[in-house]
Symmetry: none
Subunit: 402 residues, 2 copies
């Protein structure tokens, strides 16, 4: 059982102790059939291993056993939020992914350019995957419309994909997609899902008609589809819940956006792991919680590149030495989900967790890896309990009840 | 945390991969004090052991730690249903147990013949446990009454026990038992538990009065008691939830009935394990999920016959070789509950689980047994998560969230 935010809020206290949560994105893996060892078990990671000796380890399920998490649910769970009830809409996530400065009342939708025939029937939902350059040119034609006082901001994502953000008063994201998710039919009229969303649906439909006229001569991208209309989820911030002053260090925009949703201050950083570690060192005195996100492990897993994932873990391990030298009170090393190179994608396998603190009850694990974590002192547990465990080990939680 | 059916329904996908769920009924046991080994650990089961080497194992609680499940909750949990909120009424379960073709609007009750004295006071709640043959003769006198347009179907179960099914329009199962569960008092009038159930209560009471008159001269079975009035629970089907085309192979009617409640197609089969396996082979191409129920383990446990339970496990193991040859994508071997021979009945002990898939993260277990499963990669978990784990390992679940 995981305790509620109400209880954590009641018992959490502000102290000078420091917590660093390292997310090695997609860290969990599957064994190479030849060696029987996962990516993490194959890597030479002496710093992680030395840390493991003084830590308590375990295996965590980001969402639930058998459920493969997207990056959103995976990270929200690490920050302590219920990844199911706090699920974030596709439009918002896409906006976060391009570092778009989403405002609380904005409604964001994910957009696709598509191809329609003379009768308006969709023949290609991705407009032949037009290049990012060609897409950007069309987006310039669509960006900045004013429809009845509502501004429509259109920003490129990649190839045929873009984000459309509706900014104005009284908007409501409860509208259905225009994207029918199949060819051979016309795009759907955007329908309100409740009466409060009628205005938003009308504006979105008007935007689609205007865009259609503008795009008419730009075959194959002569139409667009919108889906995943959503708004900022308004999560309680980590400072409200945990009385922390939290900061995020992430070189990829999506993770900066997720950290912002949790109320973290996002620190400016460079693209490499060393850049991120330098940012941590420079800002170490100013915050009591750091979320450090390392992307390379996941990308290598997604590419099915076992050796590169091993290499990324080894790179991270070398840099982690500097973190250990800073001597934070609690270090957690884990992941938002597994990305086994063998599966070339996110998977449902539980993630290895290492929690270092001078107050942990060590469990005899001497090497950080999935097999070893199976017999760790944390057992198998929901990832959203990591935050209360970290808080406890940093002596930031008062007694519950008398 | 177990995710809801809404989420599973959203992320499940239909694929060609196949799942076989084997329930060795009552498999879990307790160690023989002389050897320290359970029935499963005593059995020579080379096929299960070889499978375990390529599997992930664990211990599952069918309902919750400390709770001994009946066959209903035990199996519903294996099919992924919450065994507490989906609890099935005693009348319905009894009807399923005799292969009665229960209709959606039927109200079923469990019946007992009993003995009453001249003042109508119960002196024996089981009518001296009259023989099944004597009972069947009396049931013929009661079966088929028409009471105000409602048909009352009475069918024998065993000894003094029978099922009474009320079939007609507007029936409601929310009525109290007539069985006071003690001697020295009169049977209770059947009371409606809400206003919609008044008609049903009236009809049931009229049936009891008519039956009493018919039985008057048949001491010791000169009266009857009814309890557990219930209706078909209308569970969402496994094809709705999981997009599966599921089939059940079970030689005992109760388990066919439970599978039917979950929307499985029940395949005709013979009484032996080999019959069941042959049925599986003949139908292998036509379904993507098979529930294979093996009863002998439980019966031996109920009889307190440790050696026979070991023998049943060995018999099942020999037949399982043919299943392994079929090479389904996922094989789960587990049980609906434990039935330790030492306890001569169902017990609360968690059940061993083996999940084979080429995508599992193996856990080094080389012998399938309760002790080994304790350190398995699945840990200790609720049995109702078995289905989402099986679906994940068959690559039948999409990512949750982006």
């Amino acid at each position: 059982m995981t305790v509620s935010f109400e209880i954590i809020r009641e018992i959490s206290r502000n102290t000078t102790s420091k917590i660093v949560l390292v997310s090695l994105d997609g860290l969990g893996g599957l064994p190479d059939p030849l060696t029987g060892k996962t990516e993490l078990e194959t890597a030479s990671a002496p710093n992680l291993d030395r840390l493991a000796e003084k830590s308590i380890c375990g295996l965590a399920d980001p969402v639930a056993p058998g459920i493969t998490p997207g990056s959103g649910p995976g990270h929200l769970a690490l920050f302590g939020y219920d990844p199911v009830s706090c699920n974030i809409g596709r439009g918002v996530l896409e906006a976060l992914g391009i570092d778009f400065d989403l405002q609380p009342k904005d409604v964001a939708a994910r957009g696709n350019f598509c191809t329609v025939d003379g009768q308006g029937i969709i023949t290609d939902r991705r407009a032949g995957r037009i290049s990012s350059e060609a897409s950007a040119e069309l987006i310039r034609l669509l960006d900045g419309m004013d429809i009845g006082g509502v501004k429509v901001l259109v920003q490129p994502v990649r190839e045929h994909r873009f984000v459309a953000v509706f900014r104005g008063e009284g908007l409501n994201a409860e509208v259905a997609d225009s994207d029918p998710q199949q060819t051979g039919v016309a795009p759907k009229k955007i329908e309100p899902l409740n009466t409060e969303a009628q205005v938003t649906a009308d504006i979105a439909n008007e935007f689609v008609i205007k865009a259609k006229n503008i795009l008419a001569q730009h075959h194959p991208a002569n139409m667009l589809l919108l889906r995943g209309f959503s708004q900022h989820p308004h999560l309680p911030s980590m400072s409200e819940i945990y009385k922390l002053n939290p900061a995020a260090i992430a070189s990829y925009p999506m993770y900066r956006g997720l950290a912002k949703l949790a109320g973290m201050t996002v620190l400016k950083t460079g693209p490499t792991i060393q850049d991120e570690m330098s940012t941590l060192k420079q800002n170490y005195n100013d915050y009591d919680f750091f979320f450090l996100h390392i992307k390379g492990t996941d990308s290598a897993g997604e590419d099915g590149d076992f050796a590169r994932k091993v290499d990324m873990i080894e790179q991270a391990d070398r840099v982690l030495f500097q973190l250990i030298e800073l001597a934070p009170d609690v270090i957690v090393v884990t992941a938002d989900h597994s990305t086994p190179a063998l599966l070339k994608g996110h998977s449902w396998h539980p993630v290895p967790v290492l929690l270092y603190s001078r107050w942990c009850r060590p469990d005899g694990i001497k090497k950080f890896g999935e097999s070893a974590c199976r017999s760790g002192g944390l057992g198998r547990f929901p990832a959203r309990e990591i935050m209360s465990l970290a808080m406890a080990h940093a002596l930031k939680l008062n007694k519950f009840g008398a």
